[in-house]
């Protein structure tokens, strides 16, 4: 009985005896999705650490009311670049450029992305965009200082002169194109390069979420790039898109920006939901509860996210409050479905608390509170009271830290054995988790209270007699705990590099196809593929006696292996 579909027949000539350049030339010229994905991950992690150091400088400034540690210009530039790096250059690219690039082709059983050269172009655009934005620190006047949203007319040449804003705009445009190209690649790869038998409803949830994310990228990023082109034209070509003097409108900028900006929030969240949806089932030793509900929840989040942008603009007084409020509130429903599905997956499982699983549970708690305060902010009267205060700062940090950091590093630890074929050290990973978790809550809980007391965001100083210093000091201590926790990550990587412990191909008894490939995967990924009869082909292969869970046959139904209606597709005849 041959269980293994041999891909030699179709792809044999491609992976044999692959020889190419090595070293720097290989790094520069490779179109291998794994190498490009690794480049993306390393670059975006460098951005993450830079932005994290900026955050620590900002928190040091706020530990005393009238600190002269930074001057106002430096402070404004640092929070602008902290936000820009974290959102444009880390959270997005780490997910759809790094993890998805590496993992998605493996999860669909493909040899590479659909357009490998376009993929390489994406990375080089991303790298040049990132460097361009960072160059702002070197020009006279310092980096852009108008916040990561660059509201007009503050971002106009009159109020933000100098070349740093131009470098910032150019950096956004370059990384915007890079994201669009990656989006095209992810969509095409998912639709056209799936292995035989891998129907859409057998896709891993991470791949599903990346597909939906990529579609959102194609909707949102062109708007951002267009908005930036118009902003650049306003600055240099005498146009008046965003200034009322020439018949334009600053509200136009906000509408364009947030029409990108809110889908962007889900571009930054959905991939990370996908990671959690892959990790929790593996370490609960059960299939994902409510798989199809999860897919539809992801789609409805994406659909709703294109109609909620003006909830960032409630206090402009220029938008229809009930419409945007209702759609924003409704997003809580599919997000809630995801929560209950994750809990349902753990229910009656056999939970194994490895580092990635701990990070996923940290994500659940962080996102729970961030989500609930998000529901509150979706109500315009509550937004009026808290808009642009530290309440909002705490809210979106809980959400984004929950996704990009908790779930993002869950993904990094989870796939680390796949990336390098070696294990990280569990004890160091757990130190990272616990220290970061303490730091996270100590940092952001006081910020909710500060916001409710009336402390605005983006201020470099505050009056000393309002009693705000105590909570600010607590928040600063928390931020430094988070900073220290990442030393454990770096030490972990160092130790695993110096003293490798081999991981094997499938250390977690995982579910999806990437764990069927070698660790690290060979050039063009697979020598052979297992039959695909469910969304857990690797698990099915390693548990031949367990019964395959088929989809759509009513609740609580167990169906025998190999006799399901779709099982005939699984033997790999392309």
């Amino acid at each position: 009985m041959t269980l293994l579909a041999d891909r030699q027949a179709t792809h044999g000539h491609e992976h044999e005896h692959h020889e190419g350049p090595t070293g720097l030339l290989k790094w520069m010229t490779s179109t291998d999705h794994k190498l490009i994905g690794m480049n993306y991950m390393v670059t975006s992690l460098v951005m993450f650490f830079l932005a994290g150091i900026m955050a620590l400088l900002l928190r040091a400034q706020l530990a005393s009311p009238h600190s002269s540690f930074l001057n106002f210009q430096q402070y404004n530039a640092l929070f602008t670049m902290h936000g820009s790096l974290m959102l444009y250059l880390f959270a997005g690219p780490f997910a759809f450029g790094g993890l998805a690039n590496f993992i998605l082709p493996l999860q669909v059983g493909a040899p590479d992305m659909a357009f490998p050269r376009l993929n390489a172009l994406s990375y080089w655009l991303y790298l040049s965009g990132s460097v361009t934005m960072l160059l702002g620190f070197l020009v006279s006047g310092g980096a852009a200082a108008y916040g990561w949203v660059a509201y007009a007319p503050l971002s106009s040449v009159q109020f933000s002169p100098g070349s740093a804003p131009d470098l910032w705009i150019l950096g956004i445009a370059l990384t915007g194109f890079s994201a669009i190209f990656t989006g095209v690649n992810l969509v095409t790869t998912t639709f056209y390069l799936r292995a035989p038998g891998l129907t859409m409803f057998r896709l891993p949830i991470f791949t599903w979420n990346m597909l939906v994310t990529a579609i959102l990228i194609l909707i949102a990023f062109p708007i951002l790039t267009a908005a930036m082109v118009l902003l650049f034209a306003d600055r240099h070509f005498g146009t008046h898109f965003y200034t009322t003097a020439g018949g334009g409108s600053p509200i136009l900028y906000q509408n364009l920006f947030w029409f990108f900006g809110h889908p962007e929030v889900y571009i930054l969240a959905l991939p990370y939901f996908g990671i959690v949806s892959d990790v929790i089932p593996v370490f609960s030793r059960k299939p994902l509860f409510g798989y199809k509900g999860m897919v539809f929840a992801t789609m409805s989040i994406a659909a709703l996210s294109t109609g909620v942008w003006a909830h960032h603009m409630f206090t402009t007084g220029e938008v229809l409050l009930p419409f945007f409020s209702l759609l924003s509130l409704l997003i809580a429903v599919p997000t809630g479905i995801k929560f209950f599905n994750w809990i349902g997956t753990m229910w009656r499982g056999q939970l194994i608390f490895t580092t990635p699983m701990l990070f996923c549970i940290g994500f659940l708690l962080a996102f729970l509170m961030g989500g609930l305060t998000g529901v509150m902010l979706a109500s315009p009267p509550i937004d009026f009271a808290t808009h642009d205060t530290y309440f909002v700062v705490a809210h979106f940090h809980q959400v984004l830290f929950g996704t990009a950091v908790y779930a993002g590093f869950a993904g990094l630890y989870y796939w680390y054995p796949k990336f390098f074929g070696r294990m990280y050290r569990e004890s160091l990973g757990k130190w990272h988790f616990w220290l970061m978790t303490v730091g996270f809550w100590v940092t952001f809980l006081p910020q909710y209270v500060l916001g409710l007391w009336g402390m605005p965001r983006r201020v470099a100083s505050y009056p000393s007699d309002l009693g705000w210093q105590g909570l600010n000091i607590v928040s600063t201590i928390g931020a430094y705990l988070i900073g220290i926790s990442f030393v454990f990550l770096l030490v972990n990587l160092w130790v695993s590099w110096r003293k490798p412990v081999l991981a094997g191909d499938n250390p977690w008894d995982a579910h999806t196809l990437e764990w069927f490939a070698a660790s690290p995967p060979v050039h063009h990924n697979f020598e052979r593929l297992p039959p695909i009869r469910s969304e857990r082909p690797t698990w099915d292969f390693h548990h031949p006696d367990a019964r395959t869970v088929a989809h759509g046959n009513g609740h609580r139904t167990l169906v025998g292996a190999g006799v399901g209606p779709e099982s005939g597709n699984g033997d790999g005849s392309a």
Partner: protein, 296 residues
């Protein structure tokens, strides 16, 4: 609880559950009816009529959020603690439970629609603009200060932390100092003031924490009107909340709600002063923008 004659233990459990639900519902009702005694959850009770409406919505939403959050957190905690790996046996590989899934789709929809109903009711209150306010004030924000213009060519202009024309509740200087940074917006307590908000340059944020209210001041937009109806006299600190450039951190102002008689005498004295000094626009004052330290 002892079983009544002829009752099974199931019925006793049901009765117990009903009684518990009754107690819970009764508590919720008491909390909701005693609106003024709702916990503040670190927010302000709202010194204006509009702000107090917001507070009631805020406080009850927090209560609902705590209930939902606790239910979810307890479920997570239960799963994590109860279902730790105890053996190498595979757990049962179940994946769907359609009735349960429908329940946790429909219930959140209902919760969200209820919240939306309250939201619309409160936002209509907060956004309502009276046709006959006691006084209309034009507020103009600029880098980095505020101008408050009253009928009769009276205007107060102050930059960053300096108050050019300090007015206090006792008729003397504004106090306490921590609440009096920046120029003072003088309005009558117990009556309705209509604010017309604009900006000269970039977008600023008009934010009075104790009023639970903020609104953008936008250059070129002339259609922003809102009402402030302070319920009692007082001094309320306020600040620009929308990043507006270098000295955003220092763009303070404050609102002084005076008893109506005191407000009227202040306004008429300013008006006669403005009429006397022809050619100028009343009591204006400016101060250096280079001040980088709060003058508290």
């Amino acid at each position: 609880m002892t079983p009544r004659a002829g009752e099974t233990t199931d019925k006793v459990a049901l009765r117990r559950r009903r009684r518990a639900l009754g107690v819970l519902g009764g508590t919720a009702l008491v909390v909701l009816l005693g609106g003024c005694n709702l916990p503040t959850f670190w927010g302000y009770r709202g010194s204006t009529k509009q702000g107090h409406d917001e507070f009631l919505l805020y406080s009850s939403t927090v209560i609902a959020a705590i209930v939902v959050g606790l239910i979810v957190a307890v479920l997570i905690a239960w799963a994590v603690l109860r279902y730790r790996r105890r053996s190498d046996d595979l757990p049962r590989q179940f994946q769907y439970h359609i009735p349960l899934e429908i329940t946790y789709t429909v219930v959140p929809v209902i919760i969200v629609l209820i919240l939306f109903g309250f939201t619309v009711a409160v936002e209509n209150q907060v956004d309502a603009v009276a046709s006959n306010p006691t006084v209309k004030v034009d507020v103009t924000a600029f880098q980095w200060g505020w101008t408050f213009s009253y009928p009769g060519h009276v205007s107060v202009t102050g930059v960053t932390t300096e108050d050019p024309d300090p007015v206090g509740l006792d008729g003397n200087a504004c106090a306490p100092a921590k609440d009096c940074l920046g120029p003072g917006l003088i309005i009558p307590a117990g009556e309705t003031t209509q604010i017309h908000l604009t900006s000269k340059d970039v977008i600023h944020g008009f934010y009075v924490p104790e009023f639970n209210f903020s609104r953008y001041a936008q250059p070129g937009f002339d259609d922003q009107y809102f009402d402030l109806s302070p319920q009692h006299a007082g001094v309320f600190r306020a600040q620009c909340t929308q990043l507006c450039g270098l000295y955003h951190s220092l763009m303070f102002f404050h609102v002084v709600a005076l008893p109506p008689a005191q407000f009227q005498s202040w306004l008429s004295s300013q008006q006669s002063l403005a009429a006397a000094t022809t050619g100028t626009t009343g009591t204006t004052a400016t101060s250096s923008t280079s001040s980088t330290k709060a003058a508290a």
